[in-house]
């Protein structure tokens, strides 16, 4: 666990730093592989940049809208660097909206763009889990297994390391030549990534000690992952059917 790194008088937040490095590495990789999906690297870079700026600003504005009295009492807090003053759901919604508008304006095709972005998402997934490891968040449930780690008063599953391994395997799959060959079928890379990531989360969430619980002790993240997995599989089936129809039409 290394939540902060003291550099002289400056306390650097390691999780934030890891996410920034992840973003940079992921974006570089996505730009390099944009050609697999016939996507212009510059457009991809600008799309992410627009989404990021809109997302952060949107996250703060949505937060202000939720708690207007607190910001009215302290208007300078509007420009505070506290990440706790960001609404993540609102930020994601605004980022997606801004990215969709940008994509339409630049006439970027939907599926190939998502496929190209998958490489960024895969690197970010690893960075997110490394950030969790640094901060001690997303910790595991108690275990007696020999590879358990001492954390927060108990020997626990190294859930962050499980997640890093799973995300690394998914990134490895994305780098395979077979995956590159499938790049010719738009949407397959992205939807397969959704299925793999959702499946990994569904399985690994069982070893977490901080799950949000619903009725009957069911873990919310597993239910969301199951739904994402189902949607991913349905999407892949539809793409497969469309592909088969196209082949059939060409043959006849």
């Amino acid at each position: 666990m290394l939540p902060t790194l003291q550099v002289g008088p400056l306390a650097v937040q390691v999780p934030g730093l890891v996410l920034l490095i992840g973003l940079w590495l992921g974006l570089s990789l996505a730009e390099r592989r944009a050609g697999w999906y016939q996507t212009a690297p510059a457009n991809l870079y600008n799309l992410v940049l627009v989404g990021l700026i809109a997302g952060v600003s949107g996250a703060r504005l949505v937060y202000v809208a939720r708690y207007p009295a607190a910001f009215a009492a302290s208007p300078l807090s509007l420009i505070s660097l506290n990440p706790g003053l960001l609404d993540s759901t609102g930020g994601v919604a605004v980022a997606l909206l801004a990215a969709m508008v940008f994509r339409q304006r630049k006439q970027m095709p939907g599926w190939p763009t998502l496929d190209a972005l998958t490489h960024l998402m895969a690197v970010l997934a690893i960075a997110l889990e490394v950030a969790h490891l640094a901060s001690g968040e997303a910790f595991g449930s108690p275990t007696g297994l020999p590879w358990g780690i001492e954390l927060w008063g108990a020997r626990r599953h190294p859930s962050q390391i499980y997640a890093i391994l799973a995300a690394s395997l998914i990134l490895g799959w994305l780098s395979l030549p077979q995956t590159q060959r499938k790049a010719g079928r738009p949407g397959v890379t992205f939807l397969a990534f959704v299925c793999f990531s959702a499946g990994a989360r569904l399985f690994l969430e069982a070893f977490r000690g901080d799950s949000l619980l619903l009725v009957g002790g069911l873990r919310a993240a597993q239910l969301v992952s199951w739904l994402a997995l189902a949607l991913g599989l349905i999407g892949l089936a539809r793409l497969q059917r469309i592909g088969e129809k196209t082949v059939h039409r060409v043959q006849s």
Partner: protein
């Protein structure tokens, strides 16, 4: 071609059924999560401590059960600590009457008592200042960076940890309101 689609559908249904069974098998029995373990992390019981104030009075965290508490670890030489203290003081003044408590734990083992007292008087702080002279509380709360703040609800559970600073006044107000909403 049809056979391929049917196989895909069957495989998908199998995966989804397995997933549903795993969700059911890994459901958490009620009350078995971390609430009772003491650890300096959100979702855990705040580790108890007892520290003296500069006037010699002793304050224990356990005695404040039922009240929302902000534990702020600070030192007089730390610029972000100096920057966030006036906001903490203003929020304390506004919510003190409702039972909100600030425990400003001076990391005295890394500070000097005269400098700490001068800091308190210069900023006109009226909440309890606690002296961690031997660094026990700093170690108990795994202090790695100054300032570090812990928002503790009425049940003694840590709801949020903020490492570093300065915290903005809006963040403080919102978190204190949220602690009151959680009740005791």
């Amino acid at each position: 071609m049809r056979a391929g689609s049917s196989q895909w559908t069957l495989n998908s249904l199998g995966i989804l059924l397995l997933g549903a069974a795993w969700i059911w098998a890994s459901a958490v029995p009620a009350g078995s999560q971390n609430g009772r373990l003491p650890a300096p992390q959100a979702g855990f019981q705040a580790p108890d401590f007892r520290l003296p104030t500069p006037s010699g009075e002793t304050i224990s965290l356990a005695d404040l059960r039922g009240q929302p508490v902000l534990i702020n670890l600070w030192a007089s030489w730390c610029p972000p600590c100096r920057e966030e203290m006036p906001a903490i003081q203003r929020v304390y003044q506004d919510y003190q009457s409702r039972g909100f408590v600030v425990l400003a734990v001076n990391a005295t083992s890394q500070d000097s008592l005269p400098s700490a007292l001068e800091f308190v008087s210069e900023l006109g702080l009226t909440f309890p200042i606690l002296l961690d002279t031997d660094g026990q509380v700093s170690a108990l709360y795994r202090l790695r960076s100054l300032p570090t703040s812990f928002f503790v609800d009425g049940k003694g559970i840590i709801r949020e940890v903020v490492i570093g600073g300065p915290m903005s006044e809006a963040l403080l107000r919102i978190r204190v309101e949220q602690l009151f909403e959680l009740g005791d």
